[in-house]
Amino acid sequence: MTPHDYVRVGIVSSAQTLLKDAWDDLQHVDLISEAVSEALRGTGLGMSDVDFIINSGSDVLDGRSISNCGFLGAMGAHHKEESRVEEDGLWSLSYAHDKIASGSARVGVVIAYSKPSESSLTAYYSALVEPFYQRPVGLDHASAHGLQAAQYLAVHGVDEKELSVVAARAWERAAANSSVDTPQVPGLDEIATSPSVATPLRALHLSRPRDGAVAVVVASEQVARRSTSNPVWISGYGSSIDSQVLGEREPGSFPAAKAAAQRAYARAGVSDPRTFGIAEVSAGSAAAELMVVEALGLAEPGQGASAYDGAASTVLNPSGGALPADVVMATGLIRLHEAAGQLAGRLDRGAGSASSALVHGAGGLAHQNHCVFTLEV
């Protein structure tokens, strides 16, 4: 099969629940069914038209083994092909894309969710760490990001203040995003003086865990054109994974994110990523966000802050990105929902009209794994 035989894959619709500190009054299934129902609404597609379901979540966060098996009804997966990916929802989308592109299915629903409020995120991240050499030493989410941030600042001679500027901007944008519950928006000073958690990182430099769910309806070009007047096309994607051992990773940059992006750009025929109208990227910390932006080619190494400039050709994280709302396992797919929604005109985050978007998701401890999608209308 040559690339010319591949079926073009379109995003028909997508939806998310409100991203909240704690959805105390709802179960995972309630969040999932809300997102799935909303994503199908108005498409003319019913669950009987859906060929397959692929979903992302974490058994450790959910507190049950093979948790997707208990969520089948809410996902609409009864007697359908159903598969679980224990990685951010963007990876689920990559498999969904391939199923449709190869012609083996026409309509799929991709779901990602989590309720970190029900469990201990520290224990979750600790469970990701290699158990002999790294876990006993006390490596966790905050300290891994702290080491990476320290390396980033040192390698590039970046001032620590940049971290607070990046975080403040993210919060400002999230405050205008009705999909994120943001009762209090910390300003620059509050961020810069928030408690130190893992030097140079302060509490508000780290992403804030949120509960939520997101669902994306994908279809072959033929079905997509019939189901919506505003299909968004997947033009490319790529993923790449780095060493699990922190010491083996390159200090100050994310080469795996760069490799993932290069793969996506090659498929999409993109030579200059600064031609994307919108970029929605994931990050566990403000320093990680700068490293992602640089790896994607939106700024030179060490110059990530310049990508936030109003003069930059690509509008970066108009939704506010992942720092104010990190739905672990779903954050990347939420970025895609944001980007696709803006391209299709369903969502307005003040980024103006755009005809292409770049989406990034990450997984593992301190961004071991990266996935990049490119979208166009």
């Binding site: 959805w23 105390d24 009054d25 709802l26 179960q27 299934v29 309630d30 069914s33 129902s37 019913g46 669950m47 450790v60 507190g63 089948l72 009804g73 809410a74 609409g76 009864h78 309720k115 409020s117 029900e118 469990s119 201990s120 224990a123 469970a127 158990p131 002999f132 050499y133 790294q134 006993p136 030493v137 006390g138 490596l139 905050a142 300290s143 702290g146 080491l147 941030a149 320290a150 390396q151 040192a154 130190s196 958690v197 893992a198 030097t199 140079p200 990182l201 060493s243 051992v245 922190l246 010491g247 083996e248 200090p251």
Partner: protein, 307 residues
């Protein structure tokens, strides 16, 4: 039966749960040898001759080429390449002398002055526990210590297994549907389900969407505490998470007025009589004393055959 889903106040909306996972981790040669050698205050690395790469602590396979690495004795001195201080401790990346990439460990001593470029040396734990923390960490070195040159090293009695335990705590939200089921159990000793408006099956526990046709359910109905035995198994094995002592009878019961199988246990008879059970026989709930009601399905002690 009312159709509202509002929950009366005073009922717990969350279920506390703990999953305790006991493991026996297999260390493999490199990790086993490295941790064992720490007891004699020796740090072990590994060397790949093809890539000329040295890893400290030792790895079985080279991250560069995937080839097998040979074990070497590593220096116990090095240079800090990165540091982060948390409220609990300072973690360091230390470039051990002769190593190709830094090692992660703790700083012993004050964080001030432990910055990239500073020389450090190993601090050994007073008491060994067959863990990587038998190397307690690294302290800032007040004088230069010469790096030892790599030599082949073997540990005859290398550990092969390590006991490990992961305990995970949860607070599971009931949500409106399970919450209502549990409230009805607590306050009225009755069971409720949600009928599907499309395929008409009645689901217990109630839920927002029909499992089969994805139609949205719109109301609750009371179902009976009597039903039909749909499947059973006599459990003799002990396993983690069990709430009863074997032998006991696991059962799936379709309650009268419902369509789904409720998982519970059978009781009220000597275990030897379990051979007389038949699929399709009628059963009924035997409730715990009202004073013990907790608003869970365990308020039903067991189901017993109706004879």
């Amino acid at each position: 039966m009312t159709t509202g889903l509002n929950t009366p106040p005073g009922v717990s909306q969350k279920l506390a749960a703990t999953i305790g996972l006991p493991y026996t981790l297999t260390t493999g040669k490199a990790v086993g040898s490295t941790i064992t050698a720490l007891a004699s205050k020796r740090l072990t690395g590994s060397y790949c001759s093809d890539c000329q790469r040295t890893n400290v602590p030792a790895q079985d396979y080279c991250v560069g080429c995937g080839g097998e690495m040979s074990l070497i004795e590593a220096a116990d001195t090095g240079t800090i390449t990165a540091a982060t201080t948390t409220p609990e401790h300072t973690l360091l990346l230390v470039q051990i002398d002769g190593a190709s990439s830094p090692l992660l460990h703790r700083l012993v001593g004050p964080a001030e002055g432990a910055v990239p470029g500073v020389r450090v040396r190993a601090v050994w734990a007073d008491e060994t526990k067959a863990l990587f923390l038998d190397l307690e960490g690294f302290e800032v070195a007040d004088s230069e210590a010469a790096a030892s040159s790599p030599v082949d090293t073997t540990v005859d009695d290398a550990m092969k297994e390590m006991p490990y335990r992961l305990d995970l705590d949860y607070q599971h939200s009931y949500g409106p549907y399970y919450g209502r089921l549990f409230d009805e159990l607590a306050h009225h000793r009755r069971l409720v389900g949600s009928p599907c408006p499309q395929c008409h099956q009645v689901m217990v526990p109630p839920r927002e969407r029909c499992d089969v046709c994805f139609a949205r359910t719109t109301r609750l109905v009371e179902v009976q505490d009597t039903g039909t035995l749909q499947a059973f198994s006599i459990v003799h094995l002990e396993f983690v998470g069990q709430t009863r002592t074997p032998p006991y009878v696991y059962a799936e019961v379709v309650l009268d007025g419902s369509s789904t199988r409720l998982i519970h246990v059978l009781g009220g008879f000597e275990i030897e009589k379990a051979r007389d059970l038949t699929i399709g026989m009628p059963v009924r709930a035997v409730w715990k004393d009202a004073s013990q009601a907790q608003g869970t399905l365990a308020d039903i002690e067991y189901f017993e055959p109706v004879v």
